[in-house]
């Protein structure tokens, strides 16, 4: 139990998927202009990543390892994720329209979010058990959401500031992300 807690803390803060592992930067910069879209994207990532982490673990353990074709990981994982996203989209549309309304437009973007495939690959690489994979998937996704929402808050403020012309938009966004990453570095001594 204690180990799992350490895992949660380290995945959310110390090895934050966005700011320390450099994964998922395209949606990070793309959907952080408004707080609303940032929250929507964060929720969608948490939802899909936990499912994807569980399914890819099972696929790897019982299909790829059993057949000794581990080199097909990349191909099979991306297909699993693409199919999963499609399935989640259809399921939500049919049964929970309210949730679909708020997550809908972000779901297709998640297929090409490298944080999702990245976490699935990290889980396999680190040889986590099923429970550990579930916990890391959730914590990495929560860390992604936390960083994204924090960043969106700062970015909304930047809109009001007078930024020099060549620095505008993505450029100032990246520098802001750098400063947020610096604050996250201070968690390093925690575990």
């Amino acid at each position: 139990m204690g180990d799992l807690f350490v895992l949660v803390i380290s995945c959310i803060f110390i090895n934050n998927i966005l700011l320390a592992q450099y994964l998922g930067n395209c949606p990070f910069l793309g959907t952080s202009k408004k707080m609303e879209t940032a929250i929507g994207m964060a929720m969608a990532v948490i939802f899909v990543l936990v499912l994807a982490g569980a399914i890819t673990w099972v696929v790897n353990q019982y299909m790829l390892k059993a057949l000794k074709v581990e080199y097909l990981q990349t191909l099979s994982f991306i297909l699993v994720i693409a199919a999963l996203v499609q399935f989640v989209e259809m399921f939500l549309k049919k049964s929970i329209p309210a949730l679909y309304g708020s997550l809908g437009i972000y779901l297709p973007l998640i297929t090409t979010n490298c944080a999702v495939l990245g976490v699935c690959l990290i889980n396999i690489k680190e040889d986590y058990t099923f429970i550990e994979s579930l916990v890391t998937s959730f914590s990495y996704a929560a860390g992604f959401g936390l960083a994204l929402v924090l960043f969106a808050g700062v970015r909304e403020r930047i809109l009001l500031a007078r930024v020099p012309k060549p620095l505008q938009d993505v450029s100032i966004g990246l520098i802001t992300a750098g400063i947020i990453a610096m604050t996250f570095m201070s968690f390093k001594g925690m575990v």
């Binding site: 450099y22 297909l79 490298c114 060549p166 990453a181």
Partner: protein
Amino acid sequence: MAQSLAKEFTKGLWAEIPPFRLVLGLCPALAVTKSLENGIGMGIALTFVLVCSNLFISLLRTIIPSKVRIACFIVIVATFVTIVELLMQAYAYELFLTLGIFIPLIVVNCIPLGRAEAFAYKKGPLLSIADGLGLGIGYGMSLSALASVREILGNGTLTIWGGTPAFTLGPDFLPFKFLLTAPGAFVGLGLMLCLMNLIGKK
């Protein structure tokens, strides 16, 4: 024909150079640019994937039905990424270890998929090869530029290939370690983007 080929090739080197003008593929640009060697390796890997996937998608563009095209693109790109992964494991094992998870992640790097959707699915094979080659080399150049700055200032060395530095700044140089950390990567890329905006008009 030759003129339009040259045009598609050169646009990737400046006018649409990723990841500055075409803001795609940021994650590897931040993660693998700690040393020039890694930057070049990533550039070569991406160029190979991009040229091959562009060629195949362009050849198959009349066969692939438009409703399931994204899935087809992903399968084609993932196939070539797996090929690169296995080749690197066999012939450049050190590089394979340092690039690690970012080799399989070329699949979701958005550049191959983006070019497939925006270019290769509509144009002929020769033009698509030129497009892929130009953007791939452009991406490699951007990564190398960022990596050189980070390695020289952050570590005081410059390694082109094979692990031994081609040049060092000497023992008196105090390395600016900040550039090798994650925040340094973000700030470095942000400042380079600013420089690009200053030099060229949008």
